[in-house]
Symmetry: C2
């Protein structure tokens, strides 16, 4: 029996795109169910009763929520191009950075825009950006994953693609090539990966969304 | 060459105890370095420069931070009693609940005590408790992990042992046997597991700490 793979999604979400990149890397075909977050489907509420949030992956009738949990599941179930390193220590390091991005980095960046560019928030966001800049410099590789993208790159999709559109929408700039050369280069490499490029939402849609969200439309 | 395993720790931390339980389950001997959080050691700052927090595991000179990342690493490196399920779906479910406990449950519980029993905070904490109560009822097993403890039980050590002492210190009660019979039974089973009991910090130390922390000492 062929696998039945369904994804409950919102195309503009960086968390959803993590899962789409993972599925794309593995060459998995899936049915996409686009959700309206103002009117969530009965399926979404059934499959993710705890958080009621996208993304949800349903594989042969069994549901999994939380983007990083899904990405690890995809890597566990479908072999081929690996998403996590095989070595236990390298795997732990990748999980550490993925967690850092979710728990520290993204909230710090968002605070800049929700506070309309509060100085303290900018200082803190720049500290987090510098940590990632240093990590890329220390690795000295094209991606956080080395020569190829891995869990950390996928988790950082927000930094590579979404952040620039929020910057444009709000006219608050955090990342410049001068200040964060490694991040800038990495972001360019990441969005130009075929498996990433294929699934990124149109930039103009995100721009319109964030202009509305941050009161500039 | 024998493995060199060091743990930078504070005995009273539920996050540290997760790692200690994992190491104990695997029968791993390690050297414990007790940290003074008001005067962190140079080693701690060196091994966890990003967060500067305990616990940190150093295995043959390589450091790993973040309690759940460490627990997964311990499970990856040392075979024997498994901490995560082997089945990819069950593994994803365990990771989902571990993440729920860290991201939603513990912050909701803490808010009750830092707000000195704010009604809204209590309502929200009880919602989270009910979710875990329902999960235990649905599973119908002794532990979140089934017949034996797994990643979820270990992650929930705070609920099993620490919460009761904070309740006593603050005189605010959230968990009663009447309201959450499954959680109460689970907590009793969990703290009586040999591998858990051996490493739990003395109750009176926690009680004194939380009385001081929440201004009742």
């Amino acid at each position: 029996m062929a696998d039945e793979v369904k994804l409950y999604a919102v195309g503009g979400s960086p968390f959803v795109c993590r899962v789409k990149i993972a599925l794309n890397l593995k060459g998995i075909k899936y049915e996409n169910f686009e959700e309206d977050l103002d009117n969530k489907s009965a399926d979404l509420l059934k499959y993710n009763p705890v958080h009621k949030k996208i993304p949800v992956l349903v594989h042969n009738g069994k549901s999994i929520s939380e983007s990083l949990v899904i990405v690890e599941y995809v890597d566990d179930v479908w072999k081929g191009v690996p998403i996590l390193p095989q070595d236990p220590y390298e795997k732990a390091v990748a999980r550490f950075w993925a967690k850092f991005i979710d728990d520290k980095f993204i909230p710090a960046i968002f605070k800049v825009f929700t506070s309309n560019g509060d100085e303290q928030a900018i200082t803190e966001a720049c500290e987090q950006l510098q940590i990632l800049e240093n990590e890329l410099a220390n690795k000295g590789s094209k991606f956080f994953g080395g020569d190829n993208i891995n869990l950390v790159d996928i988790t950082a999709d927000f930094l590579a693609y979404w952040l620039g559109t929020i910057e444009e929408a709000t006219e608050i700039t955090l990342v410049s090539k001068d200040k964060y050369p490694k991040i800038t280069e990495w972001a360019d490499n990441f969005v130009n990966c075929q498996v990433v490029k294929e699934i990124l939402p149109p930039r103009e849609h995100l721009l319109a969304f964030f202009k509305k969200r941050f009161g500039k439309a």
